[in-house]
């Protein structure tokens, strides 16, 4: 009896293990692909090839139906909620406030020595190159949500309402200012304002990593104040629209409310004044906006013409060009501009927006980008 049980146990354990590759090969063959792992037989096993094979195995496992079945075992989803490197972490604070876990860690965790130094070096170099072409640079730092609203992360740990600033970000901004770069330091701007009263629209969307319309207007006003140009009247007009938008953190968490269930937001949509050209064309604009997803919000998708580019255009009374890359505010947008230097024709001011996250994250690349002369 005991011997039979032991034999059965051994066979069941081995079956549990062997089912992993068998399920994978079944999926691979059904898709007309070579079975996972056979790549090892076709390549000389160098360190690089082995790491690639390892990544292939990991990626294949994530699609493996047997592995997915096991991953659905009761309790595991809850455990993975602690630290889910593949599915991406999230921090659910007090509903409906959500925060992106890596952003929270940029506040709570020490940063490596030299954080922010590569950023300020790249900014100074970019300013020099633009200045050589007679173009002014205005740098805009978009706040990190958990640093701006730390008390919303978890009510039980909230003891005050003040925003917080990472010293590395403060130092990077200070280095740029000392060198003469015009910086619209939005964390500083927001921190100086009285916090929205309960019931008022907050600066940031509870379920999103980005600002609300109210926060966006604060940002646009601060940028216009720095640019210092008088408004050209009669070019644009605004109208209020009530719109529903999906929120990125709600989507990331999964189980996001259906679009119809989300509350409507009031947006100021910018349009051309009667008899004027539409807002969108930006060729020949004197102001060029470079930025990340903060420039996409309210500008593309469910609502258009209400984002940062449009708000700047309305306040200036002039068209504003835009080069945008989600998550690429630090380097990708500059590389894009370097590939299309014609976008600088007629430009007098480049407004370069990037997230405070980019100043603090060790993963952000701050490449030196050469602008063609």
């Amino acid at each position: 009896m005991k011997a039979r049980r032991e034999r059965k146990f051994v066979l069941l354990c081995l079956a549990a293990l062997v089912a992993l590759p068998l399920a994978q090969w079944w999926v691979d063959l059904a898709a007309g692909q070579a079975p996972t792992g056979t790549v090892l037989l076709r390549r000389f096993p160098t360190v690089a090839h082995l790491r690639v094979a390892e990544a292939d195995f990991a990626a294949a496992t994530a699609r493996n139906p047997y592995a997915r079945l096991l991953a659905g075992l009761p309790g595991l989803a809850w455990l993975r909620g602690i630290e889910a490197p593949v599915l991406e972490g999230r921090v659910v604070a007090d509903e409906p406030w959500l925060f992106y876990r890596p952003d929270v860690r940029l506040v709570s965790q020490r940063r490596p020595p030299g954080t922010g130094e590569r950023a300020s070096a790249a900014i100074l170099d970019w300013r020099r190159q633009l200045a050589e072409q007679g173009i002014r640079l205005v740098v805009v730092v978009a706040p990190l949500k958990p640093a701006l609203l730390p008390d919303r992360v978890a009510r039980r740990f909230a003891v005050g309402g003040a925003a917080w600033r990472a010293p590395e970000a403060t130092a990077a901004v200070a280095r740029c200012r000392t060198a003469g770069v015009e910086v619209v330091d939005l964390p500083e701007v927001f921190a100086a304002l009285p916090a929205p009263a309960p019931g008022e629209e907050p600066w940031y969307e509870p379920g999103d990593t980005h600002w609300s319309q109210r926060g966006l207007h604060v940002a646009a006003d601060a940028i216009i104040e720095t640019i210092g140009w008088a408004r050209v009247p009669g070019v644009y007009q605004v109208r209020e629209e009530m719109v529903r938008r999906p929120a990125d953190l709600e989507r990331l968490r999964g189980g996001a409310p259906a679009a119809d269930d989300r509350p409507k937001e009031a947006c100021l949509v910018v349009a051309a004044a009667p008899g004027r050209a539409p807002v969108t064309p930006s060729a020949g604009a004197e102001v060029l906006l470079l930025g990340d997803s903060f420039c996409r919000i309210f500008e593309e998708g469910e609502v258009t013409g209400a984002g940062l580019r449009s708000q700047l255009a309305w306040r200036l009374g002039r068209p504003v060009g835009l080069i945008r890359q989600d998550g690429g505010g630090a380097t990708l947008v500059r590389q894009e501009l370097a590939r299309h230097p014609e976008r600088l024709h007629g430009v007098k001011v480049v407004v370069w927006e990037f997230a405070e996250r980019d100043l603090l994250s060790a993963e952000t690349e701050w490449a030196q980008v050469e602008l063609p002369r």
Binding site: R5, P21, R80, I82, P85, P150
Partner: protein, 470 residues
């Protein structure tokens, strides 16, 4: 390749196991197969290191055969031992400590205006601390005539490279394990107990250690830390380390059983120790006995008076600390334990809190060990100093970083797993014996734990074992 990864569990292990049992039980085929598998396992990390491992194997095998000759004069045997041990230590020094030595030299050079050391630095070759110790164990045991050298190079290479213990031990005494390479028994019962122990180890690693790892990482990487968070993080790290390394040892021992070997127990409920002396009888037992038999006793042990005993303890523990890592934090960690052991030795082999009730003695020992783990985990002595300061910071003035840390750190899953970890740790069940007496309920539990662990592993990157860095 790590045990807790789909590639090992789903591909490597079934393939090696299947091939092993298809080969004839008699003759050298199975050991050859195991050797090939072990080299693939090791080479998976960096194939260029396999020839280096084989070269050390060849040199040690030749020297051991020479030392084992009955007609060799004693002075030549001593010289041969010195050469062999020296060679293993040189390999260990170059692979593990040269960069550390260069870094320290560079600091002195900067202060004194000397020229800098060569810029050569390389990653620590995986498992170097273990296979060099196995080589030393071979030479010493053969020299002491406690074991005969192996006749087969394949068997010896298999001993040095056997994949279950190659990367993170346990450290196997040559004299104790060598006979198994010539002859060993296989049975369903042994395979079942091996798989049960392996499943328990995998669950310890994946379900407990990896769940607590973020809590420890958060606390040790925090910008702001107060006492509750610091203690929480420290306990989390203490448990993570135990379940990570203990889990690895269980997996290694379980795998060995699958191939007919019997590894000694490497942990014996270390956090139930009632003194630091007791702790070192329970924690990483194979390292403790290795240091005792191959270093402490040759230094004179406790036979040369109290002063020399204290000195010997300090030397052994500082070197033991350095063995764990080429950093001053590990030296200080070894010194911390050396001082505590010496103090207990001077008190007649008892802790200064010996008169307390047992529960408090265990708690006091756990606390002292935890304080040592700060040095073990911290990136630098300065960081360790900051952490010690945080352990007594009760002012409650944490700013936003501290509050955000708390929001993540004191999460319900962390608390629950910590309670589970403490409960299991202080229970009287020992995986090593528990897995040897399988009932229906135990087999079901092991199977369930295996499936749960596979479920977790299939959705996250494989995590390395803490002891791989040593």
């Amino acid at each position: 390749m790590v045990f807790a990864s789909p590639i090992f569990l789903g591909y490597f292990l079934p393939l090696v196991l299947g091939g092993y049992y298809l080969l004839p039980a008699t003759g050298p085929a199975r050991n050859r197969w195991l050797l090939g598998a072990s080299y693939v396992f090791y080479g998976w990390w960096d194939p260029r290191l396999v020839p280096a491992l084989f070269a050390l194997t060849l040199a040690t095998f030749g020297l051991a055969r020479w030392l084992g000759r009955a007609d060799l004069a004693e002075n030549r045997r001593r010289a041969g031992l010195a050469i062999g041990v020296g060679l293993a230590l040189v390999v260990l020094f170059v692979g593990k400590y040269l960069g550390f030595a260069f870094d320290n030299y560079d600091r002195l050079a900067a202060a004194w205006g000397w020229s800098a050391a060569p810029a050569a630095r390389w990653a620590l070759p995986l498992g170097i601390s273990f296979f060099t110790f196995h080589a030393i164990s071979t030479l010493v045991d053969v020299h002491r005539r406690q074991a005969k050298p192996m006749d087969s190079l394949v068997d010896f290479a298999c001993y040095l490279a056997f994949f279950p213990q190659l990367i993170a031990g346990p450290i196997l005494r040559f004299g104790e394990i060598a006979p198994a390479y010539a002859q060993r028994r296989h049975s369903w019962a042994q395979a079942a107990s091996g798989l049960a122990l392996f499943s328990l180890g995998l669950a310890k690693k994946v379900l407990i250690a990896d769940t607590l790892a973020p809590a420890a990482d958060l606390a040790f990487g925090a910008r702001e830390l107060d006492a509750p968070a610091a203690w929480f993080g420290l306990v989390a790290y203490g448990l993570q380390l135990y379940y990570d390394f203990g889990g690895y040892s269980d997996m290694a021992t379980g795998l060995a059983r699958l191939f007919g070997f019997s590894f000694p127990r490497n942990f014996n409920a270390p956090y139930l120790a009632e003194s630091i002396t007791d702790f070192w009888r329970r924690w990483h037992i194979s390292l403790g006995t290795f240091l005792r038999d191959y270093l402490y006793i040759p230094l004179g042990g406790n036979r040369r008076g109290a002063g020399r005993t204290v000195l010997n303890l300090l030397i052994v523990m500082v070197l033991g600390g350095l063995w764990h890592g080429a950093a001053w934090t590990f030296v200080c960690w070894g010194l911390w334990h050396g001082v505590l052991l010496a103090a207990e030795r001077l008190l007649g082999g008892r802790a200064w809190y010996e008169d307390l009730p047992r529960f408090l003695r265990v708690l006091a020992t756990f606390g002292l060990v935890l304080l040592g783990w700060v040095l073990f985990r911290a990136e630098s002595l300065a960081a360790a100093g900051d952490y010690y300061a945080a352990l007594v910071r009760f002012d409650g003035t944490a700013g936003a970083p501290g509050r955000l840390l708390g929001a993540e750190l004191f999460a319900a899953p962390h608390l629950l797993i910590m309670v589970l970890g403490l409960g299991l740790m202080w229970s009287r069940r020992r995986a090593h014996e528990w897995s040897g007496q399988l009932t229906r309920r135990r087999t079901l539990l092991c199977l369930l734990l295996l499936l749960l662990a596979l479920g977790v592993l299939s959705t996250q990157r494989s995590t390395h074992f803490l002891y791989f860095q040593f």
